[in-house]
Amino acid sequence: MSGSNRLAGQNARPKDTPVEEVRRVDEVGEARGFLDRTPRKKPRRKPSPRTHQLHPKVFPKVGEAIAAEAERLGITQGQLIEQMWEKWEDQ
């Protein structure tokens, strides 16, 4: 068999497979127990859009004041800094 390359003359045999045909194949398979066994991803919390982290060093009093104000407003310290930045830009 080697070297003769008897396969050279064989052409592709394309199959037209529209979506309906794939669906029909799935149905036939499912009826016989050939199910979708693709592993499911574990459900998890969506990542927060606030992914950028700042590391400013401030005096302890300023840090405590920011934390207390954020707590009073019921928002995170990050959200408070975002509000402060907006006001700074508006000036």
């Binding site: 008897r6 052409n11 592709a12 194949v25 799935d26 036939v28 398979g29 016989r32 199910l35």
Partner: protein, 222 residues
Amino acid sequence: MPVIVMASPKGGVGKSTCTVLLASEFARMGADVTVLDCDPNKSLTRWASHGAPSGVTLKSDVGRSEIVPTIRSADGDGKIVIVDLEGVASQLVSRAISQADLVIVPMQPTALDAEIGSEALALVREEEEALGRAIRHAVVLTKTSAAVKSRVQMELEQQLSGAGIDVIEPSLVARAAFSELFAYGNDLTAMMNDPEMMTGGKVDKAILNAQAFTEAVYERLK
């Protein structure tokens, strides 16, 4: 050129071994062979990691949603696509069968293999009906005894022939060289020519068996 699909919902029947043997032999005949590894155990990827024969291209991690487009993109003039499927009953299997020009169902000569393998044969026939076209399919018996044909094997061959199922001759004999391909990679000829690839089996007989099997498959692709 043709798309060959190895299908059986049972694991360990020899789907990956059949794929490696056919891919190596067809590549040696001059074909451009693409092998799709759809088995989560990644047997073919492990085999190719040791070195694949020239003319064989491997595509790994082909899942249910990618199988049809991947077969389509790999198919072409002068090319052979061989799909090694997972040993479970899944939609990946049913979708791959719909794209096949030849479905090969490897089966060890045991009652359990025959019973589970017959699910794949039944699925092929139902897909033929649903799609309105014939999908050629055949059984190959694997891991058979080199010395004697067992009573179970003879009975199984009779049952399959009686049911009008095409049985590929020769069967694939249980050879150490076949299983050692996954340890060394490449093909049987490389194994025979490399003295460092030691095998306890008879590589020359394994080569003859693989060539005769490939020839029988080739006859079914014409």
